[in-house]
Symmetry: C2
Subunit: 338 residues, 2 copies
């Protein structure tokens, strides 16, 4: 029986088009059953425009409200029938194995914590972002924003959850787990990371010690552990640098005719380049440690990004990632009481 | 009377060549008097190879020891006659107005704090890194590593010092000062930034509120305030992304003959691009808030980077940045006692 994934049809910047097409592709290519969550009349009308959509296991669940990217916490609480809340309720009620949204990250995290709750043994769920490295491998950074003030024990649990996620979803045998700090030696870092270092080194994982910001993309570490504030700064700084590079390259390549010809000839290289760095291949950011599966993708997600996120949500459910998190954290508390 | 700047001749990865050439160029083009600090016989022999060097105001001060990039704290303490310590002593004794090194950042900061001490009213000196933005303006991020665990009051002082630095060295009238956080609204961030926000908004500076990692390079903010751990992660993450971009572009541009031709034609664009992003133009990272001037540049600094750092050190001393920091922090403590 294939997994059922609830998909927020109203999340992305161009919703619901990428969601509808991503759902159809995930159903066609990966055999996932998808429940599109949003205003039913609109979604059914849109779906009807795709020939053959009726033969695919894609259905619609009605939600009358939409949370926007600009909605504040109060507005989010008020929208009891939002596509995010309705989608997460489907998971809680067992009608879906997982939920995917390209919508408001803060709203999705907060609602998932309330509607689904944390797994037994998990103090704080963490948002894990996957991205590409120089070696073309995937690396995972967590937490990237679910928790702004963390304890060393929180970071310890993030390390365990990140390790399991990498093994389950990226098929790595012994992911190298690093602690994001400022200096490689054991004594380097702030109070939080120095304390966390002592906890991480006694875990039954492949802990390689402190790593620095410049190691995120060098392929020498697979799981990078940070508190949600630091992780979020690292992730958004990366976006900022990428935008700067794009802007400067664009400008300098336009400066002369010769360069324009050169740029034309090398444009396939640039599209390859964009593809290599494309977050859409990595299936979004899962909120690890909640009861159920919740994957948040970028607001700019296209069809491919949505399709991959739906696929990963199904793999996440089928790979029994949550069962592993629950079991390994329980074992941990027996072996090394904290 | 031109400023005298002491320059660690043994700091950079290729020392002492970039230092000697940078010193000669700073003397020739900017009229700065430079004291090269390092092993005297070696430095005099090297200097003698540059025709005309004898007519420029570049001299040598002997230091028998060198701190390497790998030296641990204990080793650094033991090297009483290192080029870093001797150079900083020249500043303390008033024989030089400032000190420049491309050596071990941690060692330089720690030694500067001990040898020179903090300015009256400054609780914690902060390392300020300047970098380019999309608009071709400079932005300053501080602290990038002098203090790993900060209080809100520390961040408040960083804001004042960064504002003065931007006005004095980059000639900005009303630098836009932002607090590095994760979300733009006032309530967003961690305990530290939320507390600091309240202090920064009552300062007599152009405080624009929270900024995010992706704003660092977008030209919308001139001074970005962060604790040293977060600032260091942001800076090193940027380095990591830049390396990833370089590696991936290089690889993709080599893939076919057409692309190789394209890359050849557009290579001037790439060298422009490298130049635009080149940290060497920005004159290194000053340690703000100490008695004297201490500027730390990247270990990979070339002649141009050293020349610019020496020039900025002289401008720093002549612009009376420290007098302004002392005065404005004193005024602050009268107006808004903390």
């Amino acid at each position: 029986m294939p997994s059922v994934i609830a998909l927020d049809a109203m999340g992305s910047d161009k919703a619901p088009k990428p969601e509808i097409e991503g759902a159809l592709q995930a159903a066609r290519h990966h055999g996932v059953r998808v429940l599109l969550v949003g205003p039913e009349p609109q979604l059914r009308a849109e779906l009807a425009r795709y020939p053959g959509a009726g033969r695919l296991p894609v259905d619609v669940v009605h939600a009358s409200e939409v949370i926007t990217m600009d909605d504040k916490v109060d507005a989010i609480r008020g929208k009891r029938d939002s596509s995010i809340r309705v989608g997460l309720r489907l998971v809680r009620e067992g009608r879906a194995a997982g939920f995917v949204t390209a919508g408001n990250t803060g709203a999705a995290m907060a609602t998932a914590k309330v509607v689904l709750g944390a797994l037994p043994g998990v103090d704080r769920p963490a948002l894990a972002a996957a991205f590409p490295t120089v070696n073309n491998t995937a690396a995972v950074l967590l937490d990237v924003g679910a928790n702004v003030d963390c304890t060393a024990n929180n970071l310890e649990q993030f390390a365990v959850m990140g390790d399991i996620y990498c093994r389950s979803i990226f098929g790595m045998k012994h992911p190298r787990v690093g602690l994001l700090s400022i200096g490689e030696e054991e004594g380097k870092g702030n109070n939080l990371t120095r304390e966390a270092f002592q906890l991480l080194k006694r875990l039954p994982i492949n802990f390689i010690g402190n790593v620095e910001g410049r190691d995120l993309y060098n392929g020498q570490v697979d799981v990078i552990v940070a508190d949600g504030f630091v992780g979020n700064v690292a992730l958004k700084t990366s976006e900022g640098v990428a935008r700067l590079v794009r802007a400067v390259l664009k400008e300098t390549l336009k400066a002369t005719i010769t360069r324009q010809v050169g740029a034309l000839l090398s444009r396939n290289a640039f599209s390859d380049f964009k593809k290599r760095l494309d977050h859409t291949e990595y299936g979004g950011a899962p909120l690890l440690g909640i009861r159920g599966v919740c994957i948040i993708t970028h607001g700019s997600s296209n069809t491919n990004a949505i399709k991959n996120a739906v696929r990963v949500a199904a793999e996440f459910a089928e790979g029994k990632v949550n069962e592993a998190i629950e079991r390994e954290l329980a074992e941990l508390s027996v072996v090394v009481p904290t």
